[in-house]
């Protein structure tokens, strides 16, 4: 896939195509009010998610991140002069966002996805700066001291990390249309989707930062008992079976006719993507749909002859997990695994079910899941937790039945897998 050598040439090409006037098309829609535009971009970046503690004031920081090398806390990014970023000049803000370097020269931990934010246009960065300095209420709240163990508490190696893994400004792909480029800009940049959905390397760096990397968004590690599935075109485990419309609808409402979000993505939808314009959501969906499968994943799932639905419907409950499935799951997800459109997700062919790593499915069975209430889909359907009713073996049996029925095929799990998820 070729990239245009320079932003200017891209803009020229797009201008020539009549796709935009002054700003590049993928950086569309600058409304009159820069603060308002910054607020929209802050939502697209979901800044509030990390920079707000539970029950705390918006953007005042303090949310803990339990990382392998210790606990770090997000910082106060309100415009409070003493404890926040009120004294930041635009240049300070820009450097922190793109390079992860604070005005005092301190390197930020890359839990802050600055390699992604480095993609932002200057206009968007200025709008964000305007919003954070003028549109956010200042909160006097000192930052919490991080609990990082030595030697990782030394920050100077972060400079090396930054040198190795830092991101670069977004460059449009002239072979693609403006929508695709807008989607790429949002996904790779502010949306920082790769932070969860891209596998991490030895230095905890994302293995790719844009669509030129075959592992970009190919599925991330387990975080907090959840796994962020691949957003690429794999059949079964990825988005091959999803339409552009369905992806956009999921981001707007947390649900489609067949699927429902779970885990940390519920907060992303609640705080961020539900507020994106339909145009931006379609652009994101279009871009994601263009990503080919990672590695040598099959393009289509093999059709598996399966008689589970007939057996359960006939009351044949001999298979391990069948009786418990009928008792606890089938009312909503049905004996044919098809669920009910828009309300109770389908289990047959559901990527969350088919992931090689069963953590997410086991987590849902044990701990339940709640849909985000969004402005256009306010019902926060909750699947109750079943962990207190099921032994590890019961849960493993149910998970195995779900992962290997109605055409589903996924590796078996054991009671030990369940036990380890239960502990998380």
């Amino acid at each position: 896939m070729s990239r245009a050598p320079s932003l200017e040439r891209t803009r020229g090409a797009l201008l020539a195509a009549g796709l935009l006037s002054a700003a590049p098309a993928w950086a569309q829609a600058p409304p009159a009010d820069e603060v308002e535009r910054g607020a929209y971009l802050a939502r697209a970046g979901d800044c509030v998610a990390c920079h707000t503690a539970p029950g705390g004031r918006d953007m005042a920081g303090g949310l803990p991140f339990a990382l392998p090398f210790g606990t770090i806390y997000s910082t106060n990014i309100t415009p409070d002069a003493r404890t926040g970023i009120g004294t930041y000049r635009f240049e300070d803000f820009d450097r922190a966002m793109r390079k992860g370097v604070a005005p005092d020269g301190r390197h930020l931990y890359p839990a802050m996805p600055y390699p992604s934010f480095a993609k932002l246009t200057e206009a968007d960065m200025r709008a964000l700066y305007a919003y954070f300095l003028k549109g956010v209420a200042p909160v006097d709240q000192p930052n919490r001291k991080n609990g990082v163990i030595w030697p990782l508490s030394m920050r100077w190696p972060l400079a090396l990390w930054d040198a190795g893994f830092s991101g670069k400004p977004f460059e449009a792909d002239t072979t693609k249309d403006a929508d695709w480029n807008r989607g790429a800009y949002l996904v790779e940049g502010l949306g920082h989707c790769g932070a969860c959905h891209t596998p991490r390397g030895i230095g905890d760096q994302e293995k790719a930062l844009d669509d030129r990397g075959a592992l970009f968004l190919a599925g991330g590690p387990v975080v907090d008992g959840w796994i962020a599935p691949s957003l690429r075109g794999e059949a079964g485990t990825g988005l091959a079976g999803w339409s552009q419309q369905e992806i956009a609808r999921l981001l707007k409402t947390g649900r489609t006719d067949h699927a429902a979000v779970f885990g940390s993505m519920t907060d992303v939808i609640r705080h961020s993507t539900q507020y994106l314009s339909d145009g931006d959501l379609q652009a994101i969906a279009k871009y994601l749909k263009s990503l080919p499968p990672a590695g040598d994943a099959p393009l289509a799932e093999p059709i598996v002859a399966d008689k589970t639905a007939e057996a359960l419907h006939a009351g044949d409950l001999g298979r391990p997990g069948a009786a418990a499935y009928v008792d606890s799951c089938a009312a909503c997800h049905r004996t044919d695994g098809m669920g009910y459109a828009g309300v109770f997700p389908r289990l047959a062919g559901n990527p969350a079910v088919l992931q090689k790593d069963p953590t997410a499915l086991i987590s849902v069975v044990l701990k339940g899941s709640t849909l985000p209430a969004t402005a256009t889909a306010p019902s926060s359907f909750t699947m109750p937790p079943f962990g207190d009713r099921l032994s590890d073996q019961d849960a493993a049996d149910i998970v195995n039945l779900i992962r290997n029925s109605w055409g589903n095929q996924a590796p078996l799990v054991t009671d030990r897998d369940v036990k380890s998820v239960r502990r998380q």
Binding site: T376, S380, T382, P384
Partner: protein, 592 residues
């Protein structure tokens, strides 16, 4: 202990069941700052109604977890003005709700409108049967509103509730498949009817064979996935049979919690305060204007909430009690018949027939849905000639199989011992082969059936309890005996082995020990004349025009239909009047 006075609001809503949630949504949509006060606790599908813990007959249906806490507040009951009333200390005849969702969280889901004739009951009977037909002492009245005026709001309520049913008459065109006797509808039901259980199928067939007109009961239990106009979603009913008395774990039964609150709670100009028990509406020095309400919060602090508009939307009898405690309107005086608040307290009048079949008829009574089934209206309202019968009113008849649960027990043929080997054998023989049908009858209002404040008993806050004076009257017993006779014929035509009939006898008194329905009505009735009604047709107090009293308290008499659909339509009708007229020019919407 004093607490900080909260900021004044545009509207305060007292009670957060169906009426309160509808008004809260409408007034919030109109841009008002709205606070809703609910005396009970906060409740939602999760965690309160989650599977499988909610499938617990002892906790919910028997011990009444979702019902009003009678140890804090109840009513007293007597049969006649000369009796001494005693408190209703255990649940029996009726189960008023408590907590967010109110009775709307634990109802069954039968979702009717009203027949057009019943909205002008007195006029209609006098026109058809003559002035002398309605007996002395029967104080039935017209509602003062027409079916055509209410139709858009019936339609709206059905769409919000996601009601499953089948229209018969759309804008005067008979489309068939629904209730032969219904008033014209502007639209189909939002969802198709629920599937019939086998016993409903048997009832429909038998009644059609006898020339009657069976139709699917309109049910606010979703027959499929549904998204209502607020964007709130419902899951499809799975016929588990845990509706009445329970919250629904499937998001299938319409409730304020499922159908309104998800959208309402996202609105920044709305606040719901649970555990907030309203003691009274405060009036200014003139007594003609409410200034807000005083409530007791969870910490026992008395707090004044000022508001420009006060909506009383508590359960039927709580609305009446709050009016009496607050001095809104003139209390009804049984001796003179004057005064309006407390007048025309009425109820419903149930008869039940059961058929017991042999082992080859499988009715599987454990399957059920609260609102579904098959009904006939041939003996409801004035759909049959009352002239030779000499009574007012009627009963829809139906098989509404809503799940026979183990503690409430199984019905067995009359004469079966209550325990021992013979009982066990009968239970085994009949449990899965029994069909139950109801004549769900109307109850007229009478001069000496009314509500007032009890002179003796007080609630936990020291306020007088409400006193019910109520008994069955000859007209209503005549009616139920007639219709139950017809229903018995239908069941006998199915050729069961046995039939048992439960029907009131002449001279029977109101017995609070046995469940009837929770469809209590009246006491703050609507009408066209301030001398005979407490609220106008927009449910606005004639006396204090910034108080609206929403609920079945407005019905001048009891209908055969379940009241929720009618109550919801009145709530939307009232809200519409508030939004379009009252807010522009606060004051009486009907000139006095």
């Amino acid at each position: 202990m004093a607490a900080a006075t909260p900021k004044p609001v545009d509207a305060v809503i007292v009670g957060f069941g169906w009426a309160g949630s509808i008004l809260a949504m409408e007034l919030t949509e109109a841009g008002l700052n709205v606070v809703a006060l609910e005396r009970g606790q906060n409740r939602d599908t999760y965690p309160d109604f989650a599977y499988p813990k909610v499938i617990d007959e002892l906790t919910y249906a028997v011990r009444g977890k979702l019902f009003q806490n009678l140890s804090r507040e109840t009513v007293t009951i007597r049969h006649a003005p000369s009796d001494r009333a005693v408190p209703y200390r255990q649940f029996g005849a009726f189960n008023p709700g408590d907590g967010v969702g109110g009775a709307g969280a634990h109802w069954s889901g039968v979702h009717f409108r009203i027949t057009p004739d019943e909205l002008r009951l007195r006029s209609h009977y006098e026109e058809r049967y003559g002035k002398g037909f309605i007996p002395d002492g029967m104080t039935v009245q017209d509602h003062g509103v027409t079916y055509d005026e209410l139709e858009p709001f019936f339609d709206k309520a059905e769409k919000v509730f996601g009601t499953s049913g089948k229209a018969n008459n759309i804008n005067g065109t008979i489309v068939g498949g629904g209730n032969h006797f219904e008033g014209p509808r502007s639209d189909e039901y939002p969802l198709p009817p629920l599937k019939n259980v086998y016993s409903a199928e048997l009832f429909a067939k038998a009644s059609a064979n006898l020339g009657y007109h069976p139709y699917p009961l309109p049910a606010a239990n979703a027959s499929g996935p549904y998204t209502n106009p607020y964007g709130a979603q419902m899951g499809p009913c799975n016929f588990c049979g845990y509706c009445g008395g329970f919250g629904c774990y499937m998001y299938s039964k319409a409730s304020p919690n499922v159908n309104i609150l998800p959208a309402l709670r996202l609105k920044p100009n709305f606040e719901l305060r649970a555990n907030s028990h309203v003691l009274k509406v405060n009036l200014d020095g003139t007594g003609k204007r409410a200034t807000g309400v005083t409530f007791v919060d969870a910490q026992g602090r008395e707090i004044e909430q000022q508001a420009d508009l006060v909506i009383l939307s508590a359960f039927q009898f709580h609305n009446v009690r709050l009016m009496l405690l607050s001095g809104i309107g003139k209390p009804y005086d049984v001796a003179s018949g004057e005064g309006t608040v407390g007048k025309n307290f009425a109820y419903q009048n149930m008869g039940t027939v059961k058929a017991f079949f042999g082992p080859d008829v499988h009715t599987n009574p454990f399957i059920g849905t609260g609102g579904g089934g098959q009904a006939i209206d041939d003996f409801n309202a004035d759909n049959f000639d009352h002239g030779p019968l000499g009574f007012v009113g009627g009963s829809p008849c139906w098989v509404n199989q809503s799940g026979v649960k183990p503690i409430a027990g199984l019905a067995l043929p009359e004469g079966t011992p209550k325990w021992g080997a013979t009982w066990k054998k009968a239970a085994k023989d009949y449990y899965a082969h029994t069909l139950s049908a109801d004549a769900h009858g109307s109850n007229m209002s009478y001069r000496d059936c009314f509500l007032d404040l009890d002179p003796t008993y007080r609630d936990i806050h020291g306020q007088p309890l409400l006193r019910m004076t109520f008994d069955w009257k000859e007209n209503d017993i005549k009616m139920t005996r007639y219709v139950v006779g017809k229903l018995t014929e239908i069941l006998k035509s199915m050729n069961p082995k046995e039939v048992s009939v439960s029907v009131k006898k002449f001279g029977d008194h109101f017995d609070v020990r046995n469940y009837q329905t929770t469809h209590l009505v009246g006491g703050a009735i609507m009408g066209a004349d301030p001398r005979t009604s407490a609220v106008n047709k927009f449910l606005q107090s004639w006396d204090v025009p910034n108080v609206f009293v929403i609920g079945s308290s407005a019905f001048p008499q009891g209908t055969g239909y379940n009241p929720t659909g009618m109550m919801a339509a009145l709530a939307y009708f009232s809200a519409h009047a508030i939004r379009t007229d009252y807010l522009k020019s606060p004051g009486p919407l009907v000139p006095v």
